[in-house]
Symmetry: D5
Subunit: 149 residues, 10 copies
Amino acid sequence: MISSREEVTAMILAQKVAKGIKWSEVADAIGLSNEWTTAACLGQMTFDKRQATIAGELFDLTDEAVAWLQIVPYKGSLPTAVPTDPLIYRWYEVVNVYGSTIKELIHEEFGDGIMSAIDFSMDIQREEDPNGDRVNVVLSGKFLPYKSF
Amino acid sequence: MISSREEVTAMILAQKVAKGIKWSEVADAIGLSNEWTTAACLGQMTFDKRQATIAGELFDLTDEAVAWLQIVPYKGSLPTAVPTDPLIYRWYEVVNVYGSTIKELIHEEFGDGIMSAIDFSMDIQREEDPNGDRVNVVLSGKFLPYKSF
Amino acid sequence: MISSREEVTAMILAQKVAKGIKWSEVADAIGLSNEWTTAACLGQMTFDKRQATIAGELFDLTDEAVAWLQIVPYKGSLPTAVPTDPLIYRWYEVVNVYGSTIKELIHEEFGDGIMSAIDFSMDIQREEDPNGDRVNVVLSGKFLPYKSF
Amino acid sequence: MISSREEVTAMILAQKVAKGIKWSEVADAIGLSNEWTTAACLGQMTFDKRQATIAGELFDLTDEAVAWLQIVPYKGSLPTAVPTDPLIYRWYEVVNVYGSTIKELIHEEFGDGIMSAIDFSMDIQREEDPNGDRVNVVLSGKFLPYKSF
Amino acid sequence: MISSREEVTAMILAQKVAKGIKWSEVADAIGLSNEWTTAACLGQMTFDKRQATIAGELFDLTDEAVAWLQIVPYKGSLPTAVPTDPLIYRWYEVVNVYGSTIKELIHEEFGDGIMSAIDFSMDIQREEDPNGDRVNVVLSGKFLPYKSF
Amino acid sequence: MISSREEVTAMILAQKVAKGIKWSEVADAIGLSNEWTTAACLGQMTFDKRQATIAGELFDLTDEAVAWLQIVPYKGSLPTAVPTDPLIYRWYEVVNVYGSTIKELIHEEFGDGIMSAIDFSMDIQREEDPNGDRVNVVLSGKFLPYKSF
Amino acid sequence: MISSREEVTAMILAQKVAKGIKWSEVADAIGLSNEWTTAACLGQMTFDKRQATIAGELFDLTDEAVAWLQIVPYKGSLPTAVPTDPLIYRWYEVVNVYGSTIKELIHEEFGDGIMSAIDFSMDIQREEDPNGDRVNVVLSGKFLPYKSF
Amino acid sequence: MISSREEVTAMILAQKVAKGIKWSEVADAIGLSNEWTTAACLGQMTFDKRQATIAGELFDLTDEAVAWLQIVPYKGSLPTAVPTDPLIYRWYEVVNVYGSTIKELIHEEFGDGIMSAIDFSMDIQREEDPNGDRVNVVLSGKFLPYKSF
Amino acid sequence: MISSREEVTAMILAQKVAKGIKWSEVADAIGLSNEWTTAACLGQMTFDKRQATIAGELFDLTDEAVAWLQIVPYKGSLPTAVPTDPLIYRWYEVVNVYGSTIKELIHEEFGDGIMSAIDFSMDIQREEDPNGDRVNVVLSGKFLPYKSF
Amino acid sequence: MISSREEVTAMILAQKVAKGIKWSEVADAIGLSNEWTTAACLGQMTFDKRQATIAGELFDLTDEAVAWLQIVPYKGSLPTAVPTDPLIYRWYEVVNVYGSTIKELIHEEFGDGIMSAIDFSMDIQREEDPNGDRVNVVLSGKFLPYKSF
């Protein structure tokens, strides 16, 4: 009996290492972006039946685990409020150092509101550079204005 | 006597509202991106003499304040570890929900290391969209590999 | 020189007590709901020029303060992550006790996504009741679905 | 031997996924609202004998688990003080952004006191809307006045 | 201009020390219990006009301060979540050590619900005792049952 | 092998539900108050041999568990510094809202010192009331004065 | 107008540096130990009239400040829960590393109860030692047993 | 396979209760103070081979557990930064209330530096007293001066 | 099935104690520094295939565990934000006490930027000293300048 | 009247910017290392009379400020437990990522004990490197062994 999505994520990670599967292979099999597919495998997004079935085959999951993949998870992938992992911390640092800047510039352009993290997509690409390759990330989120009521 | 950069940031914000200056005007005057210029005005980056002088004229700053703009600040623009402002929180949420995904995909592509938040740039653009305009943000950071030693 | 919206909120509160103004009077003068108007006066929403001018007259604010009311504020109205005020704590408790329930039922009805806190309105009403009057609150937020990408 | 209500909640969640039961079916079987029934299944409310027996049948629970459902639980359904799940966080944000507003308006209408979270009910409904359906939630709590003593 | 109740509390404390007033004298003048009166002076309860006027005379407060005493305050009298003051900490310790006991026994007697902290009174008395006098405190709170809905 | 008192508390809770034992029955069997007995069963107090043996019989404990009941436990019955359970939170709220009041009044009556939480007793009673029954709690703690040295 | 004891502590520290007074001189003038006298000057203990008058003369305090010294303070001398100052941290470390040991040994000798921090004294002495002088501290606290009730 | 010292501490505690061993008996068998021996058994100090072997015999430990006793542990014996156990909390309170005093007096006597918590010993004794026995603790730590460099 | 790197770290620690292996022996076998090798064994760095195979042989790891050693781990080796272990705390203290100094001096020499913790190495050596041997540590990190963009 | 060392640090920082003084100039004038001198100016170390007088002349300090420089400060130079400034955070990260490694290797070489942060020195140097200059830091701390007692 599985009683939480975290158990399914652990099964996927265990199988991924044991079988040497790549996230991009999972994404190809499912037919979606690497970013969304990985997030879903890591317990942050919800698969539909077809997607869950494919993931289940790739990772040798039981039917019950496949069912869990179709349940909306309790999201949040980090164990602490301030992440300790250096790669993830750099992103937290960007939010901390540039947060007030991002806020000012979006408000200057759009007025009061937010950049959605739901109607949102992310694309991570390698940019070759003679001084050392770069990670380029495009974040796209719908602007949602506050309205008076 | 000014004894911290926060005081200079407060002066800039006060003058910005009083005079109705836009960040993009400051950026144009200084000749750099909106993003970097705003971050510097908000106490996160260091101006050189020319840049500080221009900012000082725009915001009617004293010579002492202009000197402070050329001192490396103690960075971090958010008052709490988990930001309460909805716009900035959405970014924190992206790090929290997608953090493990970002980590997995960068490692799958580049191996162990990080995406630099120092050799880094950010570009925020409006993308027009009939379903509601979008905020598009490009983050570009050099990949820095961990090496054994 | 005013260097933060908090100072304007403090001026409004000081004048409100000194003059005995009611929030509903402010809302009537501005022509919007009590809820939105109060939130704006307390530094959580952004007034347009007309709204700010009316508020400025009611609370005897300087032109500079009126300008600040038109700047998007850093939102978040509570001094601690877990609020200590009993009235506000009861709302936090509702989120804590019923949070997983709300999540389950919205997902059961709508699928994966959120109830927007931006495209959102709130209406607070007294319901007379012989066993003691009740506070009835209607919260209305657009459902925003997560989509795969 | 079961030594905490959390174990029973985990059993219910495991069976719910394995059997594909909906919360509304549980509520119908018990004859109460979806909201209260779900909260009780998630370990926040106390079932009486009849209710517990029905839940036990639906979820194939042992007699001991059914007994636990009739014990008042230690309430609180969230793993962190500031919730990380985006749907639940939006509610926390409402409390944070609108908390001081809610407080001001209830006090303006009722005087000093609180809106009860115990003598309380909640109703979650879908409102169809051509711009995207909305989640409408009605919260009703008895006003409890502070009295001098 | 006074912009928060904390300022009024500070004025009261300053005058109390400067004039050597006792809380029991304030309570007698106002005609209520020591407990409620002190809580109100310390910014936790709301005075009506008559009560505020008497307090204003005793503590030489301005009209504006007297007006603030009639505004519902943001409650919470402790500077940290876990209090450091030894006397107050002992009460926190009672809640921590005996909290689960109190919960069990109230539920065993009354069922699911709470002991109200709003419809509540407190009485602190000295009990003479040859082994050292004791502080006896009677807390009385209405039981509020949870009901299904 | 049992390696912590928490395990014994879990055994007691499991048996209590399975057998339907009441805390008052345990207290009667042991011959002490409900309050102290419950606290001891919940891992906050230390039983002597006779008391532990009786508890062991009631809850079908092994000899080893009975030995653990006679060991002074690491006290503290709450999982978080600010409790999330509504019943226990109301007590925390009393300490937070009335804490400074309690401090002022005890000092006004007794001088500098504390109300002991060790030389302490608690009595919880139902008071019938036509407006709804009340929970009355008497706390009695020896006053311990600070002395200069 | 002085509205908190912290202001008086700040005055004492300012005068102590300006005049070059030693704590031991204050203790001699008052006729009590260095430890208690320093704690009282730092806002942790309560002076009686005679003691406060002497302190007032040594530190050139106003009558109002002298009155504040006779009011029981809100205790707690550290700005953070885990102290950052290396000297004070070493004491915190002793509590952290040896805390469970202290607990075990006091319970083995005395049974369940505590070592009082109220009926308590402390004596700090230099012990000359050829390998480097030592700080010897004697802590003496009355044992207070828990009793069943 | 044992993978942490905590597991060995748990084994020792389990055996100590099961066999009714006293810490002073362990200390006698090993030939060191009660304080050091208990700290070592509780996972805060490192046994040498002879000491570990004796402990292993007393507590029926496996060879592997005996090996773990000779490995330097990750120290820190308390589950929370502010301890909840009343006996240990009183020590934390001493550090909090008297911390600034201890700092002032050691600096007045020795200059800048710390009292070592490494070159350190502790002795806990019962002092008989007609008003109630006292716990007397002598702490002795080498003074380590800061030097300029 | 192994589902996290922590499990592999635990296996390595268990085998290290059971077999009495030294970190320097592992480093020699792998042909890298003690520092990097230990960090990798403790779950902070990523082994390549050859390195993982050698480690696997030394610690008797399964093929699956050896595969995990080649996966980039979630880094961060400390259980709490402020470490409780005295040796590690001293390092935290260095960062806390000297942090602003390190920042000032690096900026004075290099301008705005950071000392990399990725392009980084560390060397720990014993320095013999008649007054007591010293631990000498050389940290070397590339300076990464912030640039305007 | 100056009532805390923080005020003196603020004066020094204000003068340093206003006059354009470098830390190395201060160190040269005083005749000690840059590291120690900067730490002392930033309120972490204690100047003797001669050193304080020189600093006072360089920074135009009053006699009272010069007296404060000779008082042992409350140490700790960071505003939050986890530092937000990127340069300082990298050091915190080193402690977090390599902390367990540092601990293991020092214990392997020296046995149980610590590397002193008091009998300690630090030297920061630029190392020229064609791939980008490096910051090299040598930390030297006396090893202090734990001894049994």
